[in-house]
């Protein structure tokens, strides 16, 4: 047992941190987030050059296929930079879903292009009213003579409009909340009948609503066996969840640093406000929450690919609860300790706070993971 990183892992982390510090300043990020697309192809090409887009792609498809720890380090650094590009949605979530569910031929077509940054993918799974339940899917895929016809509505698709390919979860059988009968389909964004309505989220990122108006796809568009889509979906979401925890931890560290700096320099009543014990203890509470969240982010990374479903979900749900609680506390207190300045759009603090808030509402919120954790606790006896 040890908590040190290999030289290669440290180099990777340094590379991303350097990129963020030099080339992804807060001003640049602000400009990118305000652009019509909401992300930068130039930045995406740099990610490809740095090898970041192939970290989760198998070697035979042009990637580096590194471990979960590498993704954790990258996401932590991207968190500090408040990077708005679709790294989580395309390079982690969609990439893994393709790895886990797609046929060899489908992987050959998609993964090398994803690793090179030439194409992007997104996962269209959630639906209005389903909250965070992966299995609550009303969208239907009905068999036709050539393949399938898809009908339904998908919402909260992370960076849906940035994607060239959408992986759509739809029901080929079963009731709305059934565990079986969910199938996955790979659709080009320009497929007739597929409508992608992009919108902004409060953290400056983009999502989309995806409407399926009688979309006809060939049988070859299906990823994996019919009706067996939930398992790979769950596994890919768990891997993305670990990555999301790492992003949150990176943000919390940045917020803590910014707050401590402010406490040391801001003067009131003739002294730095950090001399006041009430504020010192608040800062210590932030540190403790951050350290606990970081510990759980480590656990999440290590367990994120565990084939034992119960062990994996137990660790990841516990991590999301810990990170969700800590993120809310650290974010709120960072704003509070910055006083009026914490309320402004000018300072990075409010932007970190908003991203942390969005993270808590992504891939399952604190309550839904607490519930899932209790489920594994009970199975434990």
């Amino acid at each position: 047992m040890h908590f040190t990183f290999t030289e290669e892992q440290q180099m990777l982390e340094d590379t991303v941190r350097r990129f963020v510090a030099r080339d992804y300043t807060f001003e640049r990020r602000r400009a990118v987030a305000a652009s019509p697309e909401g992300w930068s192809r130039e930045v995406w090409s740099r990610f490809a050059e740095l090898g970041l887009l192939g970290l989760n792609v198998p070697e035979e498809h042009g990637g580096l296929d590194v471990g979960a720890v590498e993704t954790m380090l990258v996401m932590d650094a991207l968190g500090r930079g408040l990077v708005v590009e679709p790294y989580l949605s395309s390079a982690v979530l969609a990439t893994w879903l393709i790895r886990l569910a797609a046929s060899e031929a489908q992987q050959r077509e998609l993964l090398p292009a994803l690793a090179r940054g030439e194409t992007l993918a997104a996962v269209a799974q959630a639906e209005p009213g389903a909250r965070y339940e992966l299995n609550r899917i009303a969208a239907r895929a009905e068999r036709t003579s050539e393949g399938y016809r898809l009908r339904g509505c998908k919402s909260g698709v992370l960076h849906g409009a940035a994607a060239d390919w959408l992986i759509v979860a739809a029901r080929t059988a079963g009731e709305v909340a059934g565990y079986d009968g969910i199938s996955l389909f790979l659709l080009r964004r320009d497929t007739p009948g597929l409508e992608v309505r992009a919108y902004r989220t409060f953290d400056g990122l983009r999502e989309a609503e995806v409407l399926l108006h009688d979309v006809h796809v060939p049988a070859a568009a299906r990823l994996g066996a019919e009706g067996q889509g939930l398992d790979p979906l769950e596994r890919a979401c768990d891997i993305a969840l670990a990555a999301l925890c790492a992003e949150a931890t990176g943000i919390m560290q940045a917020l803590l640093d910014a707050t401590l700096e402010y406490l040391r320099t801001r003067r009131q009543f003739g002294q730095p406000i950090g001399r006041f014990q009430a504020l010192q203890h608040r800062a210590v509470d932030m540190l403790i929450q951050y350290e606990q969240a970081k510990s759980m982010t480590y656990l999440a990374a290590i367990r994120s690919r565990d084939p034992d479903r119960r062990e994996r979900r137990r660790a990841l749900s516990a991590a999301k609860v810990a990170v969700g609680r800590a993120g809310r506390f650290v974010g709120q207190q960072a704003v509070q300790l910055h006083g009026g300045m914490g309320m402004t759009d000018e300072l990075v603090v409010s932007h970190y706070f908003k991203r942390l808030t969005a993270i808590e509402l992504t891939l399952g919120d604190t309550d839904s993971h607490l519930e899932r954790f209790i489920g594994t606790m009970r199975a434990n006896g």
Binding site: M1, F3, L260, L263, I288, E291, M296, Y298, L299, A318
Partner: protein, 398 residues
């Protein structure tokens, strides 16, 4: 990064587990597993069993008769003995005065005192706090005046845990009143049988008499019982605090108590169903379990950093705060889980252990006492507020 223990560490865990199963007397195990009170004999019996196995000083280096374990082995030992129902080691000798004697004591002091700490022949207590010196420890007033080859000690110590059992007390005393408070303190080892030492018990809110006042009236202490240099006692005291906080997180104990909570919540009922299935209560258990999972990893992170740098750093304060909060939260949940029968409070049951004729389930007799008694966790060893001051100054540089 790797969260797995090595095969050697896993084998070590098995070894400790087997030892506890074989050598821990059943009646002691029963008391610990059910939060009942332990006697001096119980503590000594367990310490002797460990001593005979060569494990008397789990944190000690080999040269002083310890097993020379790594921090990870020490952690595994703590976790396994706690899980198996072993009493916690009485820390005052093993974890407090011994490291000070090892680091700053004379050869003669090391030979005189350390073996008897290890073998439980001599029981130690800690003379730090005074009525006017709690969190502000450096303001202590107990006076030691040099007369030839002895010190004459006058004053009062308080909150002295198990002074009634102790053969020796290590004391911070004032040897110079002219200088800054921190610079006039010395570290003395005092025989509790010395004429002029009086012990008066303090009854706590749970009815226990584990802490005492200790009075010193013209107590003669030979100069050779001073550890290190005169007026350097504050340095040794701070060194001791660092060691006291190793394994302060109490992860092993918290895991055992969490398991007890789940057993209790499975046995109690609400709306005719096991309490543990009540969504409200299950959520409370889950919250504390998740905090504990995080603390376990935070603790291992601190340990592995320690293994590289040796001395425990200020981050141990984080473990103290979080560890005590979690342990206290579990005692609160135990109290809630036991429900109205937790109100029963019959001291004899706490002393005597299981009584089959009691009008309430035997597991409830100690939950209220445990809840009340464990309030001390966030007060002793440097209150949690003092720990936050330490973190603010030494980690956050505020």
């Amino acid at each position: 990064m790797d969260l797995n223990f090595t095969p050697e560490e896993n084998a070590f865990r098995e070894e400790v587990r087997a030892f506890v199963r074989e050598k821990l007397p059943v009646h002691i195990r029963h008391k610990v597993m059910n939060g009942l009170r332990l006697t001096r004999e119980d503590f000594v019996a367990w310490q002797r069993a460990l001593y005979e196995r060569g494990w008397g000083g789990p944190t000690w280096p080999k040269e002083f008769g310890g097993p020379g374990w790594t921090p990870v082995q020490q952690y595994i030992f703590e976790e396994e003995t706690a899980a198996g129902g072993g009493p916690r080691l009485i820390p005052f000798g093993i974890k407090m005065v011994a490291p000070v004697i090892m680091a700053f004591g004379s050869r003669a002091q090391q030979e005189r005192f350390l073996p008897k700490i290890l073998s439980a022949e001599e029981w130690w207590c800690q003379g730090y706090s005074e009525p006017g010196a709690g969190s502000d420890l450096a303001s202590l007033k107990t006076r030691a005046e040099r007369r030839g080859d002895r010190y004459i000690v006058n004053g009062q110590k308080t909150w002295t845990t198990y002074a009634q059992h102790a053969d020796w007390i290590f004391c911070l005393v004032r040897t110079d009143t002219e200088v800054k408070p921190q610079q006039g303190i010395s570290f003395l080892l005092i025989d509790m049988k010395s004429p002029g030492v009086t012990v008066r018990p303090i009854t706590l809110l749970d009815g226990t008499r584990e802490v005492n006042e200790v009075w010193f009236e013209n107590v003669e202490v030979p100069v050779e019982n001073r550890v290190g240099e005169e007026n350097k006692g504050w340095t040794y005291a701070k060194f001791l605090l660092g060691h006291e906080r190793t394994n302060i997180a109490g992860v092993g104990i918290a895991k055992r108590e969490l398991a007890r909570l789940k057993r209790l919540a499975a046995a109690e009922h609400k709306h005719g169903r096991p309490l543990i299935e009540d969504p409200l209560f299950a959520a409370k258990i889950a919250e504390v379990e998740i905090e504990l999972m995080a603390l376990e990893i935070t603790n291992l992170r601190v340990l592995s950093a320690e293994a590289e740098r040796r001395a425990p750093g200020p981050e141990a304060s984080i473990l103290k705060i979080k560890g005590t909060e979690i342990q206290q939260a579990i005692t609160e949940l135990l109290l809630c889980a036991a429900g109205p029968s937790a109100r029963a409070y019959v001291e004899e049951y706490l002393e005597a252990g299981y009584q089959p004729d009691a009008p309430w389930p035997d597991y409830v007799s100690s939950v209220a006492a445990g809840y009340f008694n464990m309030r001390k966790l966030s007060i002793y060893g440097g209150s949690n507020e003092i720990q936050k001051n330490i973190i603010a100054q030494n980690i956050l540089r505020l």
